[in-house]
């Protein structure tokens, strides 16, 4: 490792400098993910290779780190005290607070850096904002968000099954089969991560133009909302349908469709 780093530093000093902010943002993100990792380990041990970190989160983090480490020479650097302050604040034992620190630090880095390093910092900022949205803001808004999505699903399913009714975040047949819509199952929770992964894939594959990227994200948003409504509607249909859709088969099919959509639209957005 040592000779490689030395060669890179000699060839381009900025390449070595970029490691410090990249390490802080990546390490800060790991600190932000700590709660999820600990929960996953407590529940399932080491059975999951990703330690409970979602595939879209992993894609975004890896792309952000890669962009931050690209050998662009930044004209402006963050002052040393800002790096130190961020690292000290990341010691606070709260994952949500760590995401806040990463967001502020990444925003400062995005302002100071240029080129692909700036883009990388912006992706880290987006990751942190998505995490704060999912783990903090959405929990405050859990009742209205879940009830709103359940209302839409209830209205759609009610067109063909009038016996299925919605009340708050519950959809189903009273006293027979009820589906409780959890925050983690909502489009509002999953879509920001999928959109971020799409943009990350596009950035990894090329230099996407904003209009095409915006169109790809819009297509993804519509497709995701419809697919999730169909999935939730099917789960509210009956106990057997719930077992199929929520079980390994249904879950893997839905995950596969999401992945294909994100990779496909990301690839399309990256084309010139």
């Amino acid at each position: 490792m040592m000779p490689v780093a030395s060669t890179a530093q000699a060839a381009n000093p900025a390449a070595f400098d970029a490691r410090l902010p990249a390490a802080i943002m990546l390490g800060g993100s790991l600190n932000g993910l700590a709660v999820r990792i600990v929960e996953e380990l407590a529940a399932n041990g080491f059975t999951s290779l990703s330690l409970g970190i979602g595939p879209f989160q992993l894609i975004a983090l890896l792309v952000a780190a890669r962009l931050c480490l690209s050998p662009d020479a930044s004209e402006h650097r963050l002052p040393g005290w800002l790096h130190a302050a961020a690292v000290v604040l990341l010691l606070v034992p709260s994952s949500s607070f760590s995401w806040l620190v990463v967001a502020l630090y990444a925003a400062a880095q995005a302002c100071a850096a240029s080129g692909r390093q700036r883009t990388g910092a912006a992706v880290f900022l987006a990751v942190a904002l998505c995490a704060i949205w999912s783990s903090v803001a959405l929990k405050w808004l859990a009742a209205p968000v879940t009830a709103a999505e359940a209302y839409v699903v209830g209205q759609l399913v009610g067109l063909v099954r009038p016996d299925i009714v919605q009340s708050g975040n519950v959809i189903g047949i009273p006293d027979q089969h009820n589906l409780v819509l959890m925050t983690a199952c909502t489009t509002a929770d999953a879509l920001p991560w999928a959109a971020l992964a799409l943009v990350s894939v596009a950035l990894l594959l090329g230099n996407p133009e904003p209009r095409r990227t915006f169109a790809a994200v819009a297509i993804l948003a519509v497709a995701y909302a419809l697919a999730n409504a169909a999935r939730l509607g099917a789960m509210s249909w009956s106990g057997d349908m719930y077992a199929l859709i929520h079980g390994p088969i249904g879950r893997n099919v839905f995950d596969l469709l999401q992945t294909v959509a994100v990779l496909g639209l990301g690839s399309w957005a990256s084309r010139p």
Binding site: I24, G27, G28, A34, L90, L91, S98, W140, A142, M182
Partner: protein, 182 residues
């Protein structure tokens, strides 16, 4: 002048220390365990003449669990449900009990649980522990059927004021335990 490599190593060590601190915090649950919550609730109910009619029952595929309390001079039981996570099963509990339910969150009787209050309670609890103050783990959101009122009818269970005292009593108990520790 500290070299970049030394700074990088220091940053990695600090970030690893941050991860260890978080692992230590999240390895212990921030909320009281179901057994601890059941014990605290049973203490309140026993003080008002109610006895648990059996062990904790899991309901709705584990979405929530509940204890049934009975009193010899009352025709119907009082049910206390424990709502895990972000209390998203609140509406289901309400439907299961014909809407006649009130929720106890962070020492207050409320019509609907609040995610914001739950997070603020967790922050208060974490900050208190961090500052070395005696802390009882916050209770999960409780759903009580029938909904507690002013307590004029003993067969409707303890009054609303009894539920607001649960958290305070637990904090006082935690403080006493801290003082008694050698």
């Amino acid at each position: 002048m500290i070299s970049l490599r030394a700074r990088l190593a220091a940053v990695v060590v600090m970030l690893a220390a941050g991860l260890c601190l978080k692992a230590a915090r999240y390895a212990g649950t921030s909320e009281a365990s179901e057994a601890e919550a059941a014990e605290r609730v049973s203490a309140v109910m026993t003080a008002h003449g109610w006895t648990a009619a059996g062990p904790i029952q899991r309901r709705a595929g584990g979405f929530y669990s509940r204890l049934v309390f009975e009193r010899p001079d009352c025709p119907r039981p009082v049910l206390v449900a424990f709502l895990s996570g972000n209390a998203e099963s609140a509406e289901l509990v309400r439907l299961d009990h014909a809407g006649e339910v009130a929720f106890v969150q962070d020492g207050s009787v409320v019509a609907a649980p609040s995610g914001l209050h739950r997070q603020l309670a967790a922050i208060r609890h974490g900050a208190g522990r961090w500052l070395g103050r005696p802390q009882a783990s916050p209770l999960p959101v409780l759903a009580v059927w029938p909904a507690p009122d002013a307590g004029l009818d003993v067969c409707k269970g303890p009054a609303a004021s009894a539920w607001t005292a649960v958290e305070r009593a637990a904090v006082a108990q935690a403080a006493a335990l801290t003082v008694n520790e050698p």
